[in-house]
């Protein structure tokens, strides 16, 4: 399309001079400007001065990479982690006396949201594991500290990214723990069965401390349907990966009883979890975090599952047990069993520190390069249907970046 015929050709040409210089005009406009510049000395002068400006600007001296930048960046990151850790330890000190424990009973949906955070941060948790190992600090303490730090960071991210059109949730102050549940309480909140929380306490988690970030996120879960799908699926996926299956079923049952908004995606997850859990009922005499069943997650892309398969401890569940659980759940596809077995082996190597960092990184590069698409595994009538999707969905950990 041509620009409208200008009343003052010089003025029009000067307006187009920048885009002419940058090659941003259509062919007819370019030809028109070119013809005008050949005839008009003033406009040619303007054009040449812009051209000269561009040439000189491009020849301006460039700054060097500031000396020692990488070391300073690492040091700053490490210092901030330590500060966060100190802050969290301060937070953890005042556990309420027994008579106030009632105030500590948690909004169960908050806990569910917190579970999302815990699992979503498993990649960072893994990073934290490595840092902890490198610095020879107590591994478990560092893991838990990183987990908490990244949980809070993820809360910020989810809130900032997923809230288009969703009214802001009230934020709990970071201060007094005992006050937080009271402020978080709303008519929809029910209290979670302490029996559900107990296994997590035994595993070293302190569910009370999920409250603050959960308080920010649980209203997001309430508005699940309004969440950006880009955020929704990782949230679901992460949630599946965190709580053990019987707990999830209990959580979803409570969710349904509140009349909270449902979605097809959520219903699909619930159905899957319920089916898996029913199969497990007979044999579940121990806690089986579904985190360890990463590849059984219908929404998890493999690299994420693989990373999420790293547990927050060195707890080992025998390959045979995993296989048995999968078979009991009706998952008999040999490739799934193979994937879980491989994921478990990778996890063991990662967690056990047996794999050197070059090998770990080579593996990750391999995954990035291989995974051009995500595969969303959908279960219909108990049968798995695979569907390839574009590489922009799910989490960012699946695809590689743009080369320059």
């Amino acid at each position: 399309m041509n620009a409208p015929a200008p009343s003052n050709p010089c003025s029009a040409v000067r307006d187009l001079a920048s885009r002419y210089l940058d090659g941003r005009l259509s062919a007819p406009s370019r030809a028109r400007v070119h013809a005008h510049l050949k005839e008009c000395g003033d406009c040619l002068e303007t054009y040449r001065s812009l051209q000269r400006l561009s040439t000189l600007a491009r020849a301006l001296p460039r700054a060097d990479v500031p000396a020692d930048l990488a070391r300073r960046v690492r040091r700053t990151v490490s210092e901030r982690r330590q500060q966060t850790l100190a802050h969290l330890q301060l937070d953890e000190a005042p556990l309420a006396p027994a008579k106030d424990r009632a105030a500590l009973r948690l909004p169960w949906r908050g806990i569910a949201a917190a579970a999302v955070l815990v699992a979503s941060c498993s990649a960072a948790l893994f990073a934290g594991y490595k840092l902890g190992r490198q610095d020879e600090r107590g591994e478990t303490d560092q893991l838990i500290a990183d987990l908490r730090e990244d949980r809070d960071r993820f809360a910020e991210l989810a809130i900032n990214q997923g809230r288009d059109g969703v009214p802001p949730a009230p934020r709990a102050p970071r201060g007094d723990l005992a006050d937080a549940p009271e402020r978080a309480r709303t008519p929809l909140v029910q209290e979670i069965d302490p029996g559900i929380l107990q296994p997590y306490r035994e595993k070293g988690f302190q569910p009370e401390h999920f409250v603050r970030s959960a308080h920010s996120l649980w209203s997001d879960l309430r508005s699940f349907d309004q969440l950006d799908p880009e955020v929704r699926r990782p949230l679901l996926s992460a949630q599946l990966s965190c709580f053990d299956l019987p707990s999830q079923v209990a959580i979803y049952d409570q969710l349904a009883s509140t009349g909270a908004p449902q979605s097809d995606e959520l219903a699909e997850v619930i159905a899957f979890v319920r089916r898996l859990s029913q199969q497990l009922e007979r044999s579940t005499d121990e806690l089986v975090p579904s985190r360890l069943l990463g590849s059984a997650d219908p929404f998890a892309a493999l690299p994420v599952s693989l990373v999420e398969a790293v547990p927050p401890s060195r707890t080992r569940i025998a390959d045979e047990r995993i296989e048995e659980i999968l078979r009991a759940s009706g998952e008999t596809n040999p490739s799934v069993l193979e994937r879980v077995r491989s994921a478990m082996a990778v996890k063991q190597a990662f967690v056990g520190g047996e794999m050197n960092s070059d090998l770990q990184s080579t593996l990750i590069i391999q995954i990035v390069r291989t995974e051009q698409t995500n595969v969303r595994r959908v279960f219909e009538n108990g049968k798995e249907v695979r569907r390839e999707e574009s590489s922009t969905s799910s989490t960012q950990q699946v695809t590689g970046g743009t080369e320059h």
């Binding site: 041509n2 307006d15 920048s18 885009r19 002419y20 210089l21 940058d22 090659g23 005009l25 259509s26 406009s29 370019r30 030809a31 070119h34 013809a35 510049l37 040449r48 001065s49 812009l50 051209q51 000269r52 400006l53 561009s54 000189l56 600007a57 491009r58 020849a59 301006l60 001296p61 460039r62 700054a63 060097d64 990479v65 500031p66 930048l69 990488a70 960046v73 700053t76 990151v77 901030r80 990649a123 960072a124 990073a127 934290g128 490595k130 840092l131 491989s342 082996a345 050197n356 090998l359 990184s361 080579t362 990750i364 960012q396 695809t399 590689g400 970046g401 743009t402 080369e403 320059h404």
Partner: protein
């Protein structure tokens, strides 16, 4: 989808090839950062440290602030690696972080006007020194270029931040209109308008250096350096 490997190599045969970090794409380096391999930080800093520092020097007009902010940019790259969206070019992401930090800084400074005068004097001298020292070691040591560098800084200082950002990202950093648009959260058309205005203002301020009798030539009327997509500004 199958794993990219059928069997996990056992530790005994874990003779992984030595990783050539320089050969990895920005996206691959970011994945390594996400997964805890902080060796990926160095090549990222090698690629972008100087560029970010150059941009921040021009936009903040203060060498020492630019150094501090450059460090903060890469701290955030490190800390927020998992939030990097690979659909965007890494340079867009990193300049976006840098620009947001610069805008925050300038906003804070503008609330402290008295202090700002002092700061700016210190800043201007600091950046002038920085430019002189950089210019002295620049391969382009022509007198005009060195003089121009100093006058350019003074002229740039008189432009609003958004004009400085758009001009520097285009002319110094070589970003495409669309990439600049992502950095500053505007449309390519708005970027085009701001770039043109920035150029006109700088042309006026730097006219002695832009003498028309110096070399200059018209591109061919049929040439197409970029994508010809725009016609008329609003």
């Amino acid at each position: 989808m199958a794993l990219p490997f059928r069997r996990v190599p056992s530790p005994e045969v874990a003779a992984a090839p030595r990783i050539d970090f320089e050969a990895l794409s920005d996206g691959e380096l970011m994945q390594l950062l996400v997964h805890g391999d902080d060796r990926a930080l160095m090549p990222i800093i090698d690629r972008y440290g100087g560029r970010v520092r150059t941009y921040l020097g021009h936009v903040t007009r203060d060498g020492s602030w630019a150094d501090d902010l450059t460090q903060e940019v890469f701290v955030r790259v490190f800390e927020s690696a998992s939030t990097f969206d690979p659909r965007f070019a890494f340079q867009v992401w990193v300049f976006r972080i840098a620009r947001n930090l610069a805008v925050d800084l300038l906003r804070r400074q503008s609330t402290q006007r008295k202090l700002r005068d002092t700061l700016e004097e210190r800043a201007a001298e600091s950046e002038r020194q920085s430019i002189r020292s950089r210019a002295a070691s620049s391969p382009l040591q022509g007198l005009v270029e060195v003089e121009f560098a100093e006058h350019f800084e003074r002229a740039l200082k008189r432009l609003p931040e958004i004009f400085r950002t758009v001009f520097v990202l285009r002319e110094v950093e070589g970003l495409a209109y669309e990439e600049i648009a992502e950095v500053v959260d505007a449309s390519p058309k708005t970027v085009s308008t701001r770039l043109h205005r920035a150029r006109l203002q700088l042309r006026k301020l730097l006219s002695p250096y832009l003498d028309p009798f110096r070399e200059g030539h018209l591109p061919s009327s049929s040439s197409s350096e970029g994508e010809a997509s725009e016609e008329q500004e609003s």
